[in-house]
């Protein structure tokens, strides 16, 4: 509802005002809030996805490394599907296809919250990528570490949680930062499922007013956010690598 009112305010009376007053480039308070809200949507999706992606990514990665054939096959299939199809398609399946399938199956319609859809789709997708990153990081730890842990009587689980996985943290920081930056930019895909993220908000303003400056604002905000990510992840990498001299 809020979004509809907001679109009207951009395309209707306001446009008139901008041209009349001749100050296309200065943001009004409403626009400022709209951009702020769009940025929040963008951030929310990226952060939710990276958190769930990291948690489930560990599970899927351990599945890939497992000697259990079922766990191995399931993880392989998961990664194969979510890495092998476009994120946009996954978003469409969850937002458009699932309600229709549900309707066909049960005859009941249901409202699906686009934000929840975005959380789910981005998390599922990030899980696939992070699982591969985590698997590679675990495999990069010297085999002698697992042997030493086992020789000391640790179980596989203890060795993994106390010895192997903690050693992957430093190696995971850089690819994790990379993935977060990718996610942040990819959130612009949610404009296709009726969400106003940063890019869609600014694009709407740009088409409504005919000014290109909004794209610059968008670029500046994306750069600001990715810079923060880059700096924070650089710091984390240094801190986590303290034991490597």
């Amino acid at each position: 509802m809020v979004e509809k009112g907001f679109v009207c305010s951009l395309t209707g009376v306001r446009v008139q005002n901008f041209y009349d007053e001749g100050k296309i480039n200065v943001l009004t308070e409403i626009q400022l809030w709209a951009i702020f809200n769009g940025t929040i949507v963008t951030l929310e999706i990226a952060i939710v996805a990276i958190i769930f992606g990291a948690i489930f990514g560990v599970v899927v990665a351990l599945g890939r490394l497992s000697k259990n054939k079922v766990a191995n096959a399931l993880s392989w299939f998961y990664i194969w599907f979510f890495r092998g199809t476009p994120l946009l398609l996954q978003l469409f399946i969850i937002y458009y296809a699932i309600p229709i399938i549900y309707l066909d199956a049960t005859g009941i319609t249901f409202e699906i919250n686009p934000m929840i859809c975005a959380f789910v789709a981005f998390s599922l997708n990030a899980t696939a990528y992070l699982a591969e990153i985590i698997r590679a990081a675990i495999e990069s730890i010297d085999g002698g570490q697992m042997e030493a842990a086992k020789a000391l009587g640790m179980s596989y689980r203890q060795a993994m949680t106390k010895i192997i996985i903690p050693q992957t943290y430093k190696r995971l920081v850089a690819p994790l930062g990379n993935e977060l930056i990718m996610l942040l930019k990819d959130t612009s895909l949610v404009s296709t499922i009726a969400l106003f993220d940063l890019l869609r908000t600014t694009k709407t303003m740009a088409s409504a007013t005919g000014s290109w400056i909004y794209y610059i604002y968008a670029a500046a905000i994306y750069l600001f956010l990715t810079t923060i990510i880059q700096v924070v992840f650089d710091m984390m990498e240094k801190k986590l690598g303290i034991y490597e001299r």
Binding site: Q145, A148, A151, G153, Q167, Y243
Partner: protein
């Protein structure tokens, strides 16, 4: 008391048979040095004992209790996993490449296994760790990370780490082979100290001088079997077997 016993142990990696029927019994307090060319199965034998590798055929006893019995790669006994684990923790192991945990400080390296495997009280584990570290001469390094230690120091920490689990038998897999020559002495001194305290030890080594000095028994392995065994004088000074003679000629 027999600490470890191998009965006709065979081990294959695919088509490659590394152990071709090894029989060995080690008594309590005995120091056994195992020599032989690389690929002769020395390390594999140690790794089979604590089940880092599973044998293909034969029986293994630890303190007179069966820990593994197999034929044609089939587990014949299905021994309870907890039982196997407790038997194997009686075997401490020191590796050629130290394999210290790089993300943990020296003291944490020593305490982690008692803490999570034996659920030892943290204070007790730390006191014990400090004792062990001072025994190997490294108590002042307790808060350093392994990357800041020399190879010799790392190996001594690794010995302390293995001892923290109160093993009844210590196995050393070429403990000085990855060390610079000037650092070998400090590790051998630590091992000598252990031997003097009566620890049962199985040592795979190329340090013939050390073997002669500390070993009660020397075993020469070749092509997956024990080729010759006896006192250091018998095996190292007056070998009977041609293969032992030619090996000793090559390395001395």
């Amino acid at each position: 008391m027999s600490m470890v016993k191998l009965v006709n142990v065979r081990k294959s990696f695919g088509d490659l048979e590394v152990l071709k029927g090894v029989n060995l019994e080690v008594q309590q307090g005995e120091v056994v040095c195992i020599i032989g060319a690389s690929g002769s199965g020395k390390s594999t034998m140690l790794r089979c004992l604590n089940q880092l590798e599973r044998i293909s055929d034969g029986e293994i006893y630890i303190e007179d209790e069966l820990s593994d019995k197999r034929a044609n790669n089939k587990d014949l006994m299905k021994i309870d996993a907890a039982k196997v684990q407790s038997l194997c923790t009686d075997l401490g192991m020191v590796f050629q490449n130290f394999n210290l945990f790089p993300h943990l400080t020296v003291i944490d390296n020593v305490t982690i296994a008692p803490l999570i495997v034996k659920k030892t009280d943290k204070k007790i584990a730390e006191t014990r760790a400090l004792d062990l570290l001072s025994m190997v001469g490294l108590s002042q390094k307790k808060d350093e990370y392994p990357s800041r230690l020399s190879g010799g120091q790392q190996q001594r920490v690794a010995i302390a780490r293995a001892l923290a689990m109160d093993p009844k038998i210590m196995m050393f897999d070429e403990p000085t082979s990855a060390l610079d020559p000037e650092l070998v002495g400090e590790v051998l001194a630590t091992m000598r100290q252990l031997a003097e305290k009566g620890m049962t030890m199985l040592i795979v080594t190329h340090e013939i001088g050390f073997a002669r000095e500390v070993a009660d028994r020397v075993i020469f392995m070749d092509a997956g079997v024990i080729c010759e065994e006896g006192t250091p004088e018998e095996v190292l000074l007056n070998p009977k077997e041609e293969r032992t003679k030619s090996f000793l000629n090559k390395i001395l």
